[in-house]
Subunit: 204 residues, 2 copies
DNA sequence: TCAAAAGTGTTAAAGCTACACCCATGG
DNA sequence: CCATGGGTGTAGCTTTAACACTTTTGA
């Protein structure tokens, strides 16, 4: 089991779901690992085939066991993160993007996975650089702030946010600016990938 | 896969290992889940049978996949925590307790599991109440501080430590004191279990 | 010239770190 | 009476939270 988060310009945290016909509920995209395939390769492959995202950030979430009449499964859940532009640039055969605040999942384990993923993602915003994996190559500080606000579902103080980001030293100023409407252009920044601290509290 | 941490009076963080005969290395206790058995039931059962600990704190750690010639495995690792007194009170048929700073594991994945478990346990000391699962029913503040110091492998300031613990509100004073030698008796505290925040960042 | 988003400092409160002495007891 | 571990307060520093106005641009 596995699912995906994404961030658009009118910012909302979106999750890739497969719509079910009858009850108006959704399921998370899933797939099976092949024999001999490492689990994270499987997760990457499923992310690509089900949701059309490539080169994304991937993090294992939790492992459940689950029993039906016929069989006993081990279900390994992961988070994948991608920026909007990367996700929509490729085909995504089955999955559709839904605002995470509106999606209704039909299955109890999947609800748990989604809730837990949000808890973890929100927590990691505070002490890692994980948010950058939701951003495009370059971005303005306002865009970054809107990303944080969409994930946390709360608004942040502009001055404090900018001060913290600059102070953290993970932003690299770009020469370029973005002109977007009849107002002052915004400075563009890049993520200093060498300083990535997303993987704190992950083995390897 | 699965392993155990424990805290003795001459405080050291100890881990249950199975000694190997020939190369002087150790392995973590392991076992297989039965078909239809939930994963955390399996972990609890293995903790009991291999290391002799019961009623312990259990937390899932990470899931690996692993390939031998014959077969492809999914390996789910967990942490179990127990206080010294609980662990030694029952029989522990196979496993032996080794200081975590001295143990040498023969297997690469197991080294990863141990390292990651330490990272996670140390991190969780800071923002959860997880340490209490390593303590006996009642304990003095000095004992609790020695537990923290053994886990973090660094010494802490006595006054600051006591202030933080008291301020956090998770300690309940006991009427009793502990007399232990020719010095002032120490106040005994109990863990206010209703305020347990160990499970932050765990689903369920 | 107006609307719209970018950008910029200060102050007060809380929390953290470092640090040294007196207290109660048993032998 | 002495050795041992238990118990206590403060001052400086850092971090965080709250708060409003000026700048630059395109239409």
């Amino acid at each position: 089991m596995f699912f995906v988060l994404d961030l658009t310009d009118r910012p909302a945290l979106r999750v890739a779901v497969v719509e079910c016909e009858e009850p108006a509920t959704a399921r998370l995209p899933t797939g099976s690992a092949h024999q001999t395939e490492p689990l994270d390769d499987a997760a990457r492959r499923i992310a690509r085939d089900e949701a059309g995202i490539v080169e994304q950030y991937l993090e294992q979430l939790y492992t459940f066991s689950h029993c039906t009449e016929e069989q006993w499964y081990v279900v390994v859940s992961s988070i994948a993160l991608a920026s909007h532009v990367m996700a929509v640039s490729s085909d995504h055969p089955r999955a559709q993007w839904r605002d995470v605040r509106e999606v209704v999942l039909g299955n109890a384990i999947e609800c748990q996975v989604l809730d837990y993923a949000l808890v973890r993602l929100r927590a990691k915003l505070g002490y890692t650089t994980i948010a950058f994996h939701l951003m495009p190559e370059s971005f303005t500080l306002s865009e970054l702030q809107r990303a944080y606000e969409a994930i946390l579902d709360q608004s942040l103080d502009k001055r404090n946010f900018r001060r913290r980001m600059i102070a953290s030293g993970i932003l690299e100023p770009t020469a370029a600016v973005r002109r977007a409407g009849s107002h002052r252009p915004a400075a563009l920044y890049r993520f200093r990938a060498a300083d990535d601290r997303s993987v704190y509290l992950t083995p390897g």
